[in-house]
Subunit: 121 residues, 2 copies
Amino acid sequence: MSLVMTNAPDKSEPYVCNLDLRLRLGEVESEQFALAFKALSNPIRVQILDLISQGGGQICGCDIERHFDLTQPTISHHLKVLRDGGLITSEPRGVWVAHRINFGMLTALQGLLMLVNNTGR
Amino acid sequence: MSLVMTNAPDKSEPYVCNLDLRLRLGEVESEQFALAFKALSNPIRVQILDLISQGGGQICGCDIERHFDLTQPTISHHLKVLRDGGLITSEPRGVWVAHRINFGMLTALQGLLMLVNNTGR
DNA sequence: GGCATATATCGAAGTCTTTCTATGTAAGTT
DNA sequence: AACTTACATAGAAAGACTTCGATATATGCC
């Protein structure tokens, strides 16, 4: 019996294929998660999401553009990717558009990470 | 005074640009997060990560390939993307390779989501 | 109506991703 | 030494992503 807690595989034991593994996540489910993570797979979009979270629901594109060396169409594109990934919602408000965090999606992503993090240990 | 808790912007108020927003995430930091999220931006890789978490550290490529209609080089590529994104580690163990979840990275990603989720509310 | 402001869309250029086939490497087996 | 098994790498084809300039739309103001 070892004195340290470990889940490291025993090098002396021959490997036996693990036949118990199951795809717990369905195709549709994993595609939805992948789409949301894809929205976060770009450093600019990670920073945009952080800016929106600081804005407390009151944020327009011009408040975002100011922080980056990118053109307005590019920022508009990144906001669309975040929207399509379900991470934000955008509501027209007169001449500008209010961008808000979709808390439900963030919570869902946290849930998936927790599932993997806890199952693995 | 309203009877419901809301952070919805007041439609009657004219919008004023929010000059207080700051990029809390540096360039290097947001690039690292983006790289990790990019690893999760594909449904196959989301499912692979889930399989590895179920394996408890004892998982080889053949245990993964069985579940997908993809060739061995393609699975090998996806594992490399997960590795480069810091989500798993892979240790050669004789003729096969043990893939393991990098719990620290999952926790870091959960932390970012929590930051955005909590700041926004 | 005419003009300014905020945002979206289009189309194009360059780059990166996904997947394959073919091939290489390295450990275990007979 | 030859063979099998597990995995990695190389190169190629198709498609997706990122960014831009140009242009369109739509609201608010004079």
